[in-house]
């Protein structure tokens, strides 16, 4: 049985990380080049980790399924990245960022991790600026900040609406520099399919060369997964089309326990669905809620044009329900408010599945120029997709799956339950509890990669005795054979449904029963439906082509096969958690006014699931102790 130890250092919250850094073992600089480290993924977490580890002198091998490290999904983040700099002098501090993040996560994360995140946030901004990341500036040349959902201070650094792109290009250039210097070996178009475990520790990975189909072996002393989140389990989400859970899921099946799988985030400001040919949903940055007002008609079924609905017949839902935070209420709360309004028949647009986000007041107050500077490209993007002009008609928005707080369980050192396997960025579960605040995923990815893993991996390497493992070790051969069998099986089914068709059906089950609002019956139904669908997949999917070639059908099928298992675990986890917290809203557990009812007595734990076999998991509970911040009812009123 797996035992979990979070390895949280003792001491005052402000001292934990400092003391821990001092107490960790160091690798002698001259010995660093004797250690090989594999980093899978080149998003913010992976690229920053790979670059920093190579700078320290380790031999780093990097894999990504993209054609270039710069395409990782982090590139799409729009809004910004948080840090506790307090440049605006509005009362921010490391402690406040810690407090906001822990509270935003509805007290379902570890204090020590969250504090460390807040603590290193400032270094991130310094680092990125030094790299030449063009953050927005004031006229005097100083950095500009904006505010974001779930916070009352302005602490978000941004670069127009392309912050993720600029941060990723910063990390990508640091990575590229190390590739040029020969310290990183970069392998693109490689999909990692298995972690190789030798004598209980992670010693490499096996990957498919997506161009030639060859299965390749990579051995190392430690492996870092920075492979992103699993929102694509919903089929329609704001994530890029290739985002998938395969790396994490295969590691899970090898012994890495999976934490809080049911904690997923539905983002309130996305473009509504246009029809059944839709392949993904587009996020409109949440920063829009700084100046846009969310409203619906007061009367259900009011089909008048927005400009014909007078002020007094409008319901500004967030301002009414949450006067303090108003349109800046956290994501889970805002998403649910939109869904409730639509369920009451007040939704707008053709489908009735949308609410307005209106800039008219802000344009009047601040002028067109200011709004254009802040959101110009978002307005353009909106018009491009919907053929409607947001300068004249309010935007229509609707919630969409966006981020997954759950992920591979890691200890304070970011190590999973497989020694030597570290997990970074969205792929781990570590810092956001049951709900992530805006602009804090970029912060976490870069914190993990630039400022945490370079220390903690050294401690592991220095403290471990390594036997020789080369890529001709029998464990590699075993994994290669397994993968070849799986490929053969997928190609031989030749059934009547496409992978996408089955994926869409899975997505509908997830959205309806494991989405924004869940209940016991729905979750139980979902488990059964997912199992049936999984069975159907293995009998009735059609994957054309061969395994010895670039084959997009085969790639997709492998990923969907994993989603069909992960989806079930999400429902199992949601069923176990008989409370509402953050993004996990159980209809049975709410206050009279519809607010989430958390149950700290029974559920102040991390649900860590150990894999037994498909459809069979064992729950391990890591209890959460709040020494410094006492959980309170999360109120944004």
């Amino acid at each position: 049985m797996i035992k979990l130890d979070s390895k949280i250092p003792p001491g005052q919250i402000q001292e934990k990380w400092t003391n821990h850094k001092f107490n960790m073992k160091l690798v002698n600089p001259a010995n660093k080049r004797k250690y090989d480290i594999i980093v899978v993924g080149t998003g913010l977490a992976g690229a920053s980790a790979a670059a920093s580890l190579a700078e320290l002198g380790y031999n780093v091998t990097v894999l990504t399924y993209h054609d270039s490290p710069r395409r990782a999904h982090s590139i799409a983040a729009q809004g910004g990245v948080n840090a506790a700099k307090n440049y605006p002098n509005d009362g921010d501090s490391i402690y406040r960022l810690f407090y906001d993040t822990l509270k935003g996560g509805d007290y379902r994360s570890r204090e020590a991790n969250v504090y460390r995140l807040a603590e290193v946030s400032n270094n991130i901004i310094d680092q990125c600026v030094a790299q030449g990341v063009p953050f927005a500036r004031e006229y005097g040349g100083h950095l500009d900040n904006r505010s974001f959902g779930g916070a009352l201070v302005s602490r978000t650094f941004y670069s127009r609406s392309i912050t993720g792109q600029q941060l990723l290009l910063g990390a990508y250039s640091a990575l590229s520099r190390q590739v040029g210097l020969g310290k990183i070996k970069m392998f693109t178009r490689r999909e990692m399919l298995e972690v190789v475990v030798v004598d209980g520790t992670a010693r490499g990975v096996v990957a498919r060369n997506l161009v030639t189909g060859e299965i390749e072996n990579y051995s190392a002393h430690a492996v870092c997964l920075a492979t992103g989140g699993y929102s694509r389990v919903f089929y329609l989400s704001t994530n890029a089309m290739y985002c998938n859970a395969t790396a994490a899921w295969r590691a899970h099946k090898k012994g890495a326990v999976f934490a809080n799988p049911c904690f997923t985030q539905i983002h309130p400001t996305c473009l509504p669905l246009h029809g059944d040919q839709q392949s993904k949903l587009t996020l409109m940055s949440e920063s829009l809620r700084n100046d846009g007002r969310v409203w619906v008609p007061l009367k259900p079924g009011d089909k008048r044009k927005p400009k014909d609905i007078p002020e007094r017949e409008r319901d500004y839902i967030l301002e009414r329900k949450y006067p303090t935070y108003g349109n800046l209420a956290p994501r889970d709360i805002s998403s649910r408010a939109a869904k409730e309004a639509c369920d009451e028949g007040k939704g707008v647009g053709d489908t009735g599945q949308a609410v307005y986000l209106d800039f008219a007041d802000s344009i009047k107050r601040l002028g067109k120029k200011v709004i254009d500077e802040r959101y110009g490209n978002l307005f353009e993007m909106y018009e491009l997709i919907t053929a409607e002009n947001p300068w004249e008609v309010p935007m229509r928005i609707y919630p969409a799956p966006h981020y997954t707080m759950g992920g591979i369980w890691v200890d304070y050192n970011l190590m999973s339950s497989i020694p030597g396997l570290f997990v970074l960025g969205e792929a781990n579960f570590s810092d956001h509890g049951a709900n992530r605040l805006g602009a804090s995923a970029l912060m976490q990815g870069l914190a993990d990669g630039y400022f945490v893993i370079p220390y903690t991996i050294g401690d592991y390497l220095a403290g471990t005795k390594f036997g020789t493992v080369k890529n001709d070790n029998p464990e590699f051969k075993k994994e290669v054979d397994n993968i070849n069998d799986l490929t053969k099986k997928l190609l031989s089914i030749k059934g009547k449904r496409t992978t996408d068709d089955i994926h869409r059906q899975l997505g509908r089950i997830m959205w309806n029963k494991v989405g924004m609002a869940r209940n016991e019956k729905g979750l139980k139904d979902a488990i059964k439906e997912i199992r049936d669908l999984r069975e159907e997949f293995w009998q009735n999917v059609n994957v054309p082509g061969s395994g010895e070639d670039l084959n997009i059908s085969l790639e997709k099928a492998g990923r969907v096969a994993d989603f069909l298992e992960l989806g079930e675990l999400m429902a199992v986890d949601g069923l176990d958690r008989n409370e509402s917290c953050g993004g996990h809203f159980r209809e049975e557990y709410q206050y009279e006014d519809g607010e989430a009812k958390r149950n700290d007595k029974k559920y102040a734990y991390v649900s860590a699931w150990e894999y037994k076999k498909a459809g069979d998991w064992k729950l391990i509970k890591e209890s959460l102790n709040f020494e410094f911040l006492k959980p309170t009812v999360r109120s944004y009123k």
Partner: protein
Amino acid sequence: MSGNMNLTLKIWRQKNANAVGGFETFNVKNISLDSSFLEMLDILNEELELKGVEPVAFEHDCREGICGACSLVINGRPHGPLDKITTCQLHMRHFKDGDIIWIEPWRAKAFPVIKDLIVDRTSFDKIIQAGGFVSVDTGGVPDANAILISKESIETATDAAACIGCGACVAACKNASAMLFVSAKVSQFAVLPQGQPERYLRVEAMVKRMDELGFGSCTNTYACEAECPKGISIRNIARMNRDYFMSKIKSENVEM
């Protein structure tokens, strides 16, 4: 809602880098005006998969115009008929029922075809590896506000930094020149204080690598700027040329 547009597609198919490619004709039906161009190709591909035929391989990911993965020449134009957008941002409302649409990969010596519509753009990464960075290790950097940057410089730098590395500029250029792409990165750092110490070394190294990789030379036809989805300006090329000239004056390896 499915729509009512029926189209004929002439798509380049090529089994692999060494195979001879050619156009194949496909028909798609009931396409919605609100679908994107890539969603239209998804529909074709699902039909092919159901018949047990390998779908058309094309590159895409974010479908929001930011990752730079998508890359089709549509009716002779990189990223299709509209200005300043990527293929994934193109919607079917810009086509009409009965249209014949020609779809090809980027064509350039430095971007060999891998399969169907997918090309190999690693040459772009190689140019960045040669010098597209500020040499700074993690840690030990000054406070972010210790480096003051005027709003004007930051705007110019951000305009240049917005390049998504898609390669449309190369595909649009009759010489397959990568000047717009390279000049965007060179310019971002040339106008920022952080970029000054390596300013001339950088441009020299990147241009050298670009030439080695088989990209053509720039003959000022502006086709790149016209097809760039991010509106990267050819003024960046002028800036790069100036810096390159300076680098040659300053350089140790004079070979003029």
